[in-house]
């Protein structure tokens, strides 16, 4: 297993300004260590504002980190420039959540999907058309769709277009940022199946961001759980979902509705209380302590580190593993 991405103590603070003066900081991502092995799918879960998207965009250098290092194939990305950076961009792609705003309404499908080929000078003229055609067919669209505009497509078809565009420059890594969240269940099933096929066909590595736990569980080999800018638990899908150790992960899993009506009575009464705190003034110590059912005396003072509790299962909690 070789690491495609590795980040060390990755941190991003956004300034909050008032009259040109920085009055506070948004602690968007704080000291995150994450390894994305080549050929695997890593899932990131967490609630709104927990820093999933900021972390992912830093990996692609779309946001410059405040501190920390990002290694891509053992090269520090923050030191790259010019040609090397362009090569890196060619090897990475993104699929966004909302296919209505991620496709330019004034561009023809042929141009939307062909643009990466033009930017990276992969193919010209008829060759480019030929390649676009193959990409469209691969994602389940037809030849006659080439010269249409995005508004003529349904949500599911648009997401197929976005995937075709992501695949165009033959990337190694695709960031899927809530890529199926806006889709209906039956459409989502088709897109998820296609994504798994494409992964093995092209030897891709995915970082899949979602708030939908069942989708993450379905697709991911490894899962990271984030809370208010920090990674609280990381492990294989099996470890995180079958033996969650962090009280936040447990609360999240309890809160997600299950398809079995018989789970109803067993699960009632253990919902997490309170709301997600602000990242401008995060709670001191462990950021989860105000909502934590197993809070200890030290939790408001000491920020827990990610600790290996066995077989690479990392948990940032002082009482990890203890039953509530």
């Amino acid at each position: 297993m070789t690491a495609l991405f590795e980040c060390r103590d990755l941190t991003k603070y956004f300034p909050v300004k008032k009259l040109f003066q920085e009055v506070a900081k948004v602690h968007a991502v704080e000291r995150i260590n994450l390894t994305i092995p080549e050929g695997e799918t890593v899932g990131l879960v967490g609630e709104s504002g927990c820093g999933k998207t900021t972390l992912a965009r830093m990996l692609l250098l779309l946001i410059r980190p405040t501190a920390g290092a990002i290694l891509y194939r053992d090269t520090d990305l923050t030191l790259l420039g010019g040609r090397e950076l362009r090569d890196f961009r060619r090897e990475t792609a993104i699929v966004f959540q909302d296919p209505y705003s991620s496709l330019d309404p004034r561009m023809l499908v042929a141009d939307v999907v062909g643009e990466p080929l033009a930017i990276h000078r992969v193919a010209y003229g008829e060759d480019r058309e030929e390649m676009v055609l193959r990409l469209l067919e691969r994602v389940g669209l037809k030849t006659e769709h080439m010269y249409r505009y995005p508004h003529e497509f349904s949500g599911g078809q648009r997401q197929r277009l976005a995937i075709a565009r992501a695949l165009a420059a033959d990337p190694r890594f695709i960031l899927l940022d809530e890529a199926t969240s806006a889709l209906d269940v039956s459409v989502q099933a088709k897109i998820l199946n296609m994504l798994s096929e494409l992964k093995s066909e092209f030897g891709l590595t995915y970082l899949f961001i979602s708030h939908d736990l069942s989708v993450i569980r379905h697709l991911s080999d490894r899962v990271g759980v984030m809370y208010v800018g920090q990674m609280v638990e990381y492990g294989t899908s099996e470890q995180v979902f079958a033996q969650p150790m962090h009280p936040y992960t447990r609360g999240l899993l309890q809160a997600a509705p299950s398809l079995n009506p018989d789970d109803r009575d067993r699960r009632s009464g253990d919902a997490l209380e309170g709301e997600v705190p602000s990242t401008v003034n995060p709670p001191p110590g462990c950021r989860f302590h105000p909502r934590c059912p197993t809070r200890g005396a030290n939790c408001p003072d000491v920020s827990p580190e990610l600790v290996d509790v066995g077989d690479g299962h990392l948990v940032a909690c002082r009482s990890a593993g203890k039953k509530p």
Partner: protein, 329 residues
């Protein structure tokens, strides 16, 4: 089954939209009933007619749409025969609604307190001072922290979850017979959505309100509802109590929809797909609207619209497969 009285009966409701492109047959003879004190779930994918059903019940179908035929009985009175003025008196007092997006449902220019107090002032002619006090009290019962102070906030000062609590407070002010919840947790985070679902269930038990819960999420139905109707392309294809539906779904659409949902069991495996896509309701398929996508379709399916068949007490399926089996027997 308990013989609880029906609060709302929707009977062969047909709503259509007359657009320049043609007639959109949004609802094709939708029938269901909601009993007193139960949570009835209406589930289906985008464009299946869930929200048009709500609008029809509330008398809020916007032009060029119109309810063509059918009956909507609230306690035996047909809402479709009511005048606009009578409907105004019913909305907010006997039937109220919470929407998906609490941000756009609240007026950003007024404090939450006065917005929650409005139904008291309009429907119960309560003096303003007392209405404001009552509003603060009901905001407290919906779990808004520090209601005395928070009720004097403007909507933008509250989080999404708190705004949805304010909407629920507003909907419950006049103790309605029926609360319609149109995807109220879809925009909320997982843990907050869970809190809101628990809240609606607690309040529903306390006040004995009936709830029509509209959602696209099967798992939410499984955890919250007593009975459920599955909609597809403007019709209810299957209807039963929740446990039966999940244990033994009969309609091919329900079966395949449940298999398309990722879960622990599907991890790493391929998800089952439903071939094709949801039809345009401007030219819906003839006969059963699901037949072009159905792998068990018979010849009759493309010709004749299937009638509801009661496959077991309280479990209705609108599918020819069951009709023929019954006739064979």
């Amino acid at each position: 089954m308990e013989a609880r009285e029906n609060l709302l009966v929707v009977d062969r409701l047909k709503t259509q939209f007359f657009t320049y492109g043609g007639v959109v047959e949004a609802l094709d003879e939708v029938s269901f009933e909601i009993r007193r004190g139960e949570i009835f779930g209406l589930v289906g994918e985008s464009g299946c007619g869930k929200s048009v059903t709500t609008a029809s019940i509330l008398g809020l179908v916007a032009k060029p749409g119109r309810v063509i035929s059918g009956r909507i009985l609230l306690d035996g009175e047909d809402l479709l025969t009511k005048s606009a003025k009578e409907m105004n008196a019913i909305r907010g007092s006997r039937i109220s609604i919470i929407f998906q997006d609490p941000t756009s449902s609240l007026n950003p220019l007024f404090r939450v307190q006065i917005q929650v107090a409005e139904p008291y002032i309009y429907h119960q002619a309560m003096p303003k001072k007392r209405a404001l006090r009552e509003a603060t009290r009901i905001l407290g019962t919906t779990g808004l922290p520090d209601p005395e102070q928070k009720s004097r906030s403007y909507p933008h000062e509250l989080s999404g979850g708190m705004r949805q609590r304010a909407m629920i407070a507003m909907a419950l002010t006049c103790q309605p017979d029926l609360l319609i919840a149109d995807e109220p947790t879809t925009n909320l985070d997982v843990t907050i959505a869970r809190q809101i679902r628990d809240l609606v269930r607690d309040l529903q038990r306390e006040f004995g309100t009936s709830v029509l819960w509209i959602t696209h999420n099967m798992a939410v139905v499984a955890q919250l509802c007593d009975r459920v109707g599955v909609m597809y392309a403007g019709s209810i294809v299957e209807k039963s109590d929740v446990r039966t539906l999940f244990r033994d779904p009969r309609h091919p659409y329900t079966v395949r929809l449940l298999h398309a949902i990722p879960s622990a069991a599907t991890s790493g495996a391929e998800l089952e797909e439903i071939p094709g896509s949801v039809p345009q309701l401007i030219h819906p398929p003839t006969g059963c609207r699901f037949h072009p996508r159905c792998d068990r379709a018979l010849d009759v399916c493309s010709v004749q619209k299937p009638q509801e068949v009661e496959v077991r007490p309280g479990h209705f399926v609108a599918c020819h497969l069951f009709r023929t089996r019954e006739e064979d027997a």
